[in-house]
């Protein structure tokens, strides 16, 4: 296969990933990374580097819209970045060390296992539209971690306060490490911290998780870029494709985003994860 054909196929993969990502809420990276490894035999660290680029290419598009609509809580998001950023820097550094120690296969197995956990986890997320009984802690009061948004569906302004910041910071650190190691957004962990520990409304959690995604990805991408593992010949077509796919997904197909579509992709995602694990074990 020559480079032109490769680039075209990666753009198409990106478009598909961007579409699937925006339809399912999974993000494009979880599709792009396994496909690059399985179909094009792209070395693991380059696939991770590409994953970050697809996150950067999509989170800025959707992120900008959420910010404009005041759904992202900038204050809470920027507060939690104090945990995700060091997590992502450490995670990406750890991956570079493991790759240099010829442990890419162990990383593939771990990625497969994480995908198996993340996909059903994202789907089965128990959505609490407006949590009740949230008791803000001292840090939440001191930093004024509270906000207000206009809920179009409920037709009223909704006020919320952040609850338990310490466990939220812990989960966010873990989300940062996961994101940094594998080049994925780890949105399911971010939303867990925002919904369960801070007790934020569902829409605010989703938008704030998305708002934070770009900075986490920038930390991981920065490490891999300076370490020489962000290859634009793979990354540029993937980023361009996912940006296009996510844009089409958000403009043309918003009505399609429902449970049925999501569950249709579940077997595909499980197959990709299992194939990744088999690769890691040297059995594929």
């Amino acid at each position: 296969m020559d480079l032109v054909l490769f680039a075209v196929l990666v753009v198409l993969t990106g478009i598909a990933a961007g579409l699937v990502g925006s339809l399912t809420g999974l993000g494009g990276a979880v599709v792009v990374i396994p496909v690059l490894v399985i179909a094009f035999a792209v070395p693991f660290p380059y696939a991770v580097g590409t994953g970050f680029l697809t996150i950067l290419a999509t989170s800025s598009t959707t992120g900008a819209a959420y910010i404009r609509d005041h759904l992202s809580d900038l204050r809470i998001g920027m507060f939690l970045e104090i945990a995700t950023v060091p997590g992502a820097l450490l995670g990406a550094t750890f991956t570079v060390f493991l790759v240099h120690a010829n442990l890419s296969n162990a990383l593939l197995i771990a990625l497969g296992a994480i995908l198996l956990a993340i996909v059903p986890g994202t789907y089965a997320r128990r959505h609490v539209e407006l949590p009740t009984g949230v008791v803000p802690d001292a840090r939440s009061k001191r930093l004024a971690l509270a906000g207000e948004y206009h809920d179009l569906a409920l037709e009223r302004d909704v006020r919320y306060e952040a609850g338990r910041t310490r466990p939220a910071l812990g989960v966010m650190f873990g989300a940062g490490v996961t994101s940094g190691m594998f080049g994925i957004g780890a949105g399911v962990f971010k939303v867990l911290a925002l919904e369960r520990y801070l007790g934020l409304p569902m829409k605010v959690s989703t938008a704030t998780s998305n708002f934070m995604m770009g900075v986490t990805a920038a930390a991981g991408a920065g490490i891999l870029l300076s370490a020489g593992y962000v290859n634009p010949i793979i990354g540029a077509p993937a980023a361009l494709g996912t940006a296009a796919g996510a844009y089409i997904g958000s403009k043309v197909l918003p009505g399609l985003r429902n449970q049925t579509v999501r569950w249709l992709f579940l077997p595909v995602m499980i197959a990709l994860a299992l194939e990744i694990i088999l690769r890691g074990l040297g059995l594929a």
Binding site: D2, L3, A7, P43, Y46, L53, L56, A57, T61, A64, A65, I67, R68, H70, L74, M78, F79, E81, I82, V85, P86, T93, V96, F97, L130, P131, P136, K141, L143, A144, A146, G147, E148, D157, R159, Y160, E161, P201, G214, V215, A218, A219, A221, G222, I223, L225, S226, A227, G228, V230, N231, P232, I233, I234, G235, A236, P237, A239, L240, A243
Partner: protein, 141 residues
């Protein structure tokens, strides 16, 4: 906006929203950065394919063509000499720098609103990002 309290809100946390201008500015930073980087990457990719399009993909995929342009000197001289790889590197840098600029604008608005704690937190995030990428990254290369 009129505040009608949601059920269960204690009301003990003060509402201190960032100015509307901050939301607009960050949204513009993200959109502009993304657009600029994607345009550079698209042009760079097409130019690279015109030069190398018929080579087998395996070589380019396993040996990163931008390795010589990851230092400031290398990048500057590559851009000056019109090396396609240098422009691809520039596109990647803009893509990575965009969210970092967003953090910087957050710091600016907290600073301007005299919120010392939040300004300190955002500044720490900014320093971590820069030190991580500029010092830690090259160290593990």
């Amino acid at each position: 906006m009129t505040a009608s309290s949601a059920q269960g809100t204690t009301g003990s946390v003060p509402l201190r929203p960032l100015p509307v201008e901050a939301y607009r500015r960050m949204s513009v930073v993200l959109r502009t950065g993304l657009l600029v980087s994607l345009v550079i990457l698209l042009a760079g990719l097409i130019a690279y394919l015109v030069e190398h399009g018929l080579e087998p993909f395996g070589t380019a995929v396993s040996t990163n063509p931008i390795l010589n342009y990851l230092s400031l000197d290398g990048l500057a001289s590559g851009l000056a000499h019109g090396a396609v790889e240098a422009y691809l590197t520039l596109g990647l840098l803009v893509l990575v720098a965009t969210p970092i600029l967003r953090v910087a604008s957050g710091w600016y608005y907290f600073q301007r609103g005299r919120e010392r704690s939040m300004a300190g937190i955002t500044l720490t995030v900014l320093v971590l990002l820069l030190v991580g990428i500029l010092v830690l990254g090259p160290l593990v290369r």
